[in-house]
């Protein structure tokens, strides 16, 4: 009995992936844990390991869109032997536990015989037409007609619901239950989702009319959909303030070397911002909450998303339990996450579960921006470039190092007073770093 290679849970709100590359050929003998293929999600690329050793029988093709629970291949462990194979769920290497199939998954039944067991003449003429045009497998279409007959409507619904069989339909209807017991040995993440593989501008070859048309990749489309959806479901507003970072800069200058010597990691701004955010979130818990339908979910912890830009694109790894991290821990964790992101070694667990995000456009010179929220989070803090500006202090003009900060928030959850007060509090913490230590 061949072992199915099924798509595991891929992380929160990730319901589908594209099989972008087979790493093994049809008929190859593969060893358990060997990577079989590469899947691209809108968060990251993932390798899918073999759940068992045996001969590979590919089911899905490169370019196919796959959903949680889809069978992409089968491993025939008994090409010669007769012993039954263990099911993937019990294999030792739990890549990720396969969750129960989503309730709306229309046409997946890996146990059914492959097509060929339903003869065309057993189908009614309309069903034959639909099945041929949409390249469906009638053996997999649930029939609701008398005696279980496949009706035209059954075939039409199967062609719409099943993204695997239809190139043009990428529905988001599937609700995926992410297994709470996350794996200890995560699937290897190749690289952050690449926004597009378009080459640098100077290397582009343009058409005769001076344009170059590059179709959006499926993942780019998916990201685009998510962004638009975030905009449409949440009532996103942005409130601004400015922070006088002069004191933090002085602090840094004074203790940078010592910090490096003791902790082995450089003291940046992020640890200060992280601490300020964590303390402020404690006072404004709604800013750390998320909205699920009509339910507000409060969190007793802060998992802080840190937006990282790499030359391959943007990723937002999550620093878990930021509220418990010391300055050194924050800096080292952020460094580790940034490196993992650039190297393509992030696990899916590291990309999910955030309750609040900090994004820093300042490194690129951004003065002011309106960040977009990372659903299902309620808010995101944007840091920007630090500029020396003439400010008035005690009725005197002084040169201070200033940064504009922006808080984009979901107004369904957080109202104006809260968001402004939160941001003001962050500013207060940052402008007098002693407050961070004293938690006042």
């Amino acid at each position: 009995m061949p072992t199915n290679v099924d798509i595991p849970a891929l992380g929160e709100s990730v319901t589908e992936a594209v099989l972008i590359k087979w790493l093994k050929k049809e008929g190859d003998f593969v060893n358990a844990q060997e990577s079989l293929c590469e899947l691209e999600t809108d968060k990251a690329n993932v390798d899918l390991p073999a759940p068992a050793s045996g001969v590979l029988r590919r089911v899905k093709e490169e370019g196919d869109t796959v959903h949680i629970g889809d069978t992409v291949a089968r491993i025939d462990e008994n090409a010669n032997a007769a012993a039954p194979a263990p099911t993937p769920a019990r294999s030792k290497e739990a890549v990720v536990r396969t969750p129960p199939p989503p309730s709306k998954e229309p046409v997946v039944d890996a146990a059914k015989e492959p097509s060929g067991s339903v003869k065309p003449e057993d189908l009614s003429p309309a069903v034959r037409r639909v099945v041929t045009e949409k390249k469906l497998d009638p053996a997999k279409i649930p029939g609701t007609g008398p005696g279980g007959r496949i009706l035209k409507d059954d075939a039409v619904k199967a062609s719409q619901g099943n993204g695997a069989n239809s190139d043009d339909h990428e529905t988001d209807d599937h609700e995926v239950e992410v297994s709470p017991a996350l794996p200890t040995k995560p699937a290897m993440v190749k690289a952050p989702a690449v926004q597009s593989k378009s080459p640098a501008v100077e290397k582009m070859s343009f058409d005769a009319d001076g344009t170059k048309r590059v179709p959006m990749t499926k993942i780019r489309k998916r990201i685009a959909e998510n962004l638009v959806r975030a905009q449409q479901t949440a009532a996103i507003l942005t409130t601004f303030n400015e922070v006088d970072l002069t004191e933090i800069i002085e602090l840094r200058n004074r203790f940078k070397q010592r910090f490096q010597d003791v902790h082995g990691v450089s003291l940046g701004f992020m640890s200060f911002f992280c601490r300020a955010v964590v303390l402020a979130l404690r006072e404004f818990p709604r800013v750390n909450a998320s909205l699920e339908g009509d339910t507000i979910i409060f969190h007793d912890y802060v998992h802080l998303g840190i937006a990282v830009s790499t030359d391959r694109g943007l990723a937002v790894p999550v620093m878990r339990n930021a509220h418990r991290c010391s300055f050194a821990q924050v800096e080292s964790e952020i460094k580790r996450l940034a490196n993992s992101t650039r190297d393509g070694h992030l696990s899916l667990e590291e990309l999910t579960g955030g309750t609040f995000t900090i994004t820093n456009g300042g490194v690129f010179g951004s003065l002011l921006s309106t960040p977009i929220i990372n659903p299902p989070q309620a808010a995101i803090l944007g840091m920007h470039t630090i500029q020396k500006r003439a400010m008035v202090l005690n009725d005197k003009v002084e040169i201070r190092s200033m940064m504009y900060i922006a808080l984009s928030y979901d107004h369904r959850l957080i109202d104006g007073k809260e968001s402004v007060s939160f941001l003001a509090r962050v500013k207060e913490f940052l402008e007098s770093p002693a407050r961070l230590m004293l938690e006042i």
Partner: protein, 466 residues
């Protein structure tokens, strides 16, 4: 002489419901007796209804065509009517079919008992006939006593000039003028018979349309077709009273605020049928009837008395022979511990006029009432090759399909052989077919059913021949 026998099932009534139930029960191994009060088997259908009327409809249509359409075929004929011969043929057809039921009973070892039945209790009946009384003991009783003509109190039937369908299929001469009270199937069919044979026919109908339960667009087309044949319709008209004047009848009618009079030689009262349960002893046996006199039966055809079932016209619903037959099969199967079922959504209705009108499934009015989103495909017989060859190109096929699933919800046919063609619609509905399934099934050419295929294509606006 009285005997007492033990049966598994005694059926009261040998009409299409009763005799079919008896045969099915016998096939399933039950010991069956069937009681019939008339001397010939087959009930109303074989003796006074379906069969004799269709025999006369076919004969009269041939006569009519010989007189009016043969010339178009290049046939010169001098045609005259021999009504007694026509009636004799009708009687032969009836006789052969009723004898057929008797031989089916013999073949299936069903005891046929002639006499009037009375239910004593759920296990006992008494049959009375010229020979005396006989008690029958049984495990089960099936009431299939059918229906009788509804009479109008103000238009009393005398069986000579004011008649019912029973007399209308056996008139000795063609009336000069016939008034038909009732624009249902029986009135339209028998009115057509006598119109073709030379009578002047006026149809009086109380409602604002004929065949009120069928699709409105189609019944309007049928009425126009019949009017073109010379039948006059007075709709929204009530028959008030009748009196004999000279050698004729004078009918007084009322329509809205207008009243009037109409003279006729014969008046046919065809306003419907009511359940027949006379002398059955139902009250004593405790079998419940509803306020219109129908025996109350549940979804499994059981009455309120355990061991007594009922089917057919006597329980109401569509009073059609094929409905009774289906119920007969279903109840026999249920009695034998099997799953018997009738799909009431796939029971066709037919009017055997010319052109025939047939329908199965929902009408447009019913779909609109239920708020169902549907699409329509129509195809006229004027564009059908076979109909043109037959010189019968009047009418159309109309198919109603669900707008979302394309499932066939209703099929309505006005035209030649609609009664035969509607079977495709009934099967389509039973199999939950889509209109596309019909459109893509091969229909031989040139045939009338191609009009169904094209109407199915017309649902997607892609008919080829129109």
């Amino acid at each position: 002489m009285s005997e007492s026998n033990d049966y598994d099932l005694v059926v009261i009534g040998a009409g299409p419901g009763g005799y079919v139930a008896a045969i099915r029960a016998a096939q399933l191994g039950l010991r069956v007796a069937c009681i019939e009060k008339e001397s010939s088997l087959g009930g109303t259908c074989l003796n006074w209804g379906c069969i004799p009327s269709k025999a006369l409809l076919d004969s009269s249509e041939l006569y009519h065509q010989a007189r009016t359409s043969f010339a178009r075929h290049g046939i010169k004929a001098d045609v005259s009517l021999d009504l007694p011969a026509m009636m004799a043929r009708k009687d032969q057809v009836v006789a052969s079919l009723t004898r057929g039921v008797a031989s089916l009973f013999k073949k299936n070892k069903i005891e046929s008992v002639i006499g009037t039945a009375k239910i004593v209790d759920a296990r006992t009946l008494v049959v009375t006939n010229a020979s005396g009384e006989r008690a029958l003991k049984t495990q089960r009783i099936l009431i299939a006593t059918g229906s009788d003509v509804v009479r109008l109190p103000n238009i009393p039937v005398d069986g000579v000039d004011i008649i019912t369908s029973t007399e209308a299929i056996a008139l000795k001469e063609v009336p000069r003028k016939l008034i038909v009270i009732g624009g249902g199937a029986i009135g339209l069919e028998l009115g057509s018979v006598w119109k073709r044979l030379g009578a002047e026919v006026v149809v009086i109908e109380f409602l604002d349309r004929i065949m009120s339960l069928m699709d409105g667009e189609m019944t309007a087309l049928l009425q126009r077709a019949l009017e073109k044949q010379g039948i006059t319709f007075k709709l929204k008209t009530a028959a008030l009273s009748v009196e004999k004047v000279g050698g004729q009848l004078k009918l007084t009618w009322k329509s809205d605020d207008e009243t009037g009079e109409e003279l006729a030689d014969k008046i046919l009262v065809a306003v419907g049928r009511k359940p027949y349960t006379d002398k059955l002893g139902l009250q004593d046996a405790g079998v419940a009837l509803d306020k219109r006199g129908f025996v109350i039966a549940d979804a499994h055809y059981a009455t309120n008395v355990p061991g007594i079932w009922a089917i057919g016209d006597v329980i109401g619903g569509a009073m059609l022979a094929h409905k009774a037959e289906e119920e007969g099969v279903a109840v026999a199967e249920l009695m034998a511990g099997r799953a018997g079922h009738v799909n009431y959504h796939a029971v066709p209705s037919v009017v055997y006029t010319h052109p025939e009108l047939a329908g199965v499934g929902s009408t447009e009015e019913q779909l609109k009432d239920k708020g169902v989103d549907y699409r329509v495909g129509k195809f006229p017989f004027a564009a059908n090759g076979r109909a043109k060859c037959m010189d019968a190109a009047e009418g159309q096929v109309k198919i109603l399909a669900d707008a979302q699933t394309d499932r066939v919800l209703g099929m309505h046919i006005l035209g030649p052989r609609a009664s035969d063609l509607i079977a495709e619609g009934a099967v389509a509905i039973e199999l939950a077919a889509s209109s596309e399934d019909l459109a893509r099934s091969v229909h031989a050419h040139p045939t009338l059913p191609e009009a169904i295929k094209e109407a199915a294509m017309a649902v997607e606006k892609r008919a080829i021949h129109f």
